[in-house]
Structures are given as C-alpha cells and as structure tokens.
Subunit: 121 residues, 2 copies
DNA sequence: GATAGAACCTACCAAAAGGTAAGGGTAAAA
DNA sequence: TTTTACCCTTACCTTTTGGTAGGTTCTATC
C-alpha cells in the first residue's frame, strides 16, 4: 500500500510539541501538578519569558491545565489534561529512543561540526 | 520515582527530526529508496533548497542513505538506514496520535487565532 | 527597612530557519 | 532546436524563535 495518500500525523504532533522546551516541559510535569518555579528549576536553562510562552501555548492547545490558586504572592501550577496524557503516552517511545541514542547522536553532531570547521580553517 | 534526575530523550530526538519537513520526509521514504524529485512531489510545498538541506541533515545523522547512481542527467535516491528505521518505528505512535487528533488540533489553533484577532480588531 | 521570592509582562535584539529567484550542466523528448 | 527534467547551488530576504534585561505587585523573612 502506498502511503502517498494517507497523510502523516507528525506535522500535527509537531504543531503541539514544536518549541525548544515543550517536550521537556511535558516530561517534567507528568508526575503531577507542578508549580511554575519548580518547572523552571527542573527544566533548567530556560528564561522565564520563554517558559511562560511555551506553557501558554500548551495551555491553549489543551495539553496543560493552568491552575491559579489566587494567592498572593502568586501560586500557580500546571498539570496534564487527559488530552495531554495521550500525547505524553504517544511521546514515550521517542523519548526512549532519544535516551538510548543520546551518545550516538551527539557524537555524530560533533564529528560533522569538526568536518565543517576543517573545511573553513 | 522522581524523573528529575533521568533526563528526557526528547531533546535528542528533536535534534534529529527538528525541521519543518523532516518528519514528512521520513514518512515518505519508508516504503523504499525514493528519488529526490519523487520525495519533492510527495511531500509537497517544499522548495528544492530546503528539501536538500533537510535531506543532507538526515544523511549526516545517518538516518538516510544517499545513493548516487552516477548517471547523467543525475539519478539519486534516498533510503532509510537501519538506524533510521529505528527512528521511524519510535515515531509511529506520535504519527498515529497526530492523525487521530488532526481535526481537534487544527480546530483549536483556529479558535485561538480568532481570539487573538478579536483582541486586535 | 532592605531583601528575596512568587508569577508574570514589556521592549528590544540576535540567531536560526525557512522561502524566493535565479542559474548550471547534461541528455532525452517534443 | 527549443523545452523539459534531473539534482542540485548561490545570493538574498523575511519570518520565526529564542534570549537579555529590566519592571511590577505583593508578602514573608532577615
């Protein structure tokens, strides 16, 4: 059977998880509702601005639920929606693939970078 | 168990499939070696420049194999490597997820876009 | 009284990614 | 003989994305 006619759903998936930090966010939120500052600490390396952007995108897509506890100073946490859970489930094999092949991939990236530098120098 | 210490492999996976057309390319190549022009037709909407860029990235990453048949006018095709096959396998659930949720996701994107426009206008 | 921490927002800037338009060298088809 | 198709390449430009640095409002703590 020819797959030319059956469009691939990966474009849809990437609409949702496309963004430098979104996969990591999903990963670090899957154990339960997590506060903003805690996500920031766990993800590591994100600026607040970008974190909020990506969190908002995920909330808009109904992947995450934002809960404002209406306290001051603010208390807000984010949790997976049922829809978000299906996404995380679908993401699991890819996550595992990445974990298994981390070394391999980063080694390849380094070697090709070296080749490029050799051509330049 | 706390996942804070076990890094998520999704960042690695996105290094490989990150790029507007890469998932689609992988999808359209999985039935066997495919010629450049055929990939271009199947993917649809890519410029030659970008297609070649992404194909080269995938070749560098050892996901695809480029075979030059040394004819003129040129005959070149691209096929999945064994490594690439493992990636496609890991990608399958996400692909299915996207297919199942295509309507839902595009509906959400449209509604939030409408909200934004309403705020502007 | 100064400071730190919570969860953001805003203006501005840099880098990366993608897109457009043109060309190139060959051979077969029209 | 002009056109078409093949698989690219290059120069240039626009869009998207991400990052920096500052500010805000409030409370609890030192």
């Amino acid at each position: 059977m020819d797959r030319t006619e059956t469009p691939c759903g990966l474009d849809v998936a990437l609409l949702v998880i496309g963004g430098k930090w979104k996969p990591l966010i999903l990963f670090h939120v899957q154990d339960g509702p997590t506060r903003f500052s805690e996500i920031r600490r766990r993800v590591g390396g994100v600026s607040e601005k970008v974190l909020i952007q990506q969190l908002r995108d995920l909330v808009e897509m109904n992947v995450l639920l934002r809960r404002d506890h209406h306290r001051v100073p603010p208390v807000v946490d984010y949790a997976l929606t049922p829809f978000g859970e299906t996404l995380v489930t679908a993401l699991a094999p890819l996550c595992e693939w990445g974990t298994v092949n981390r070394e391999r991939v980063s080694a390849m990236r380094e070697s090709t970078a070296m080749e490029r530098n050799a051509l330049v120098g």
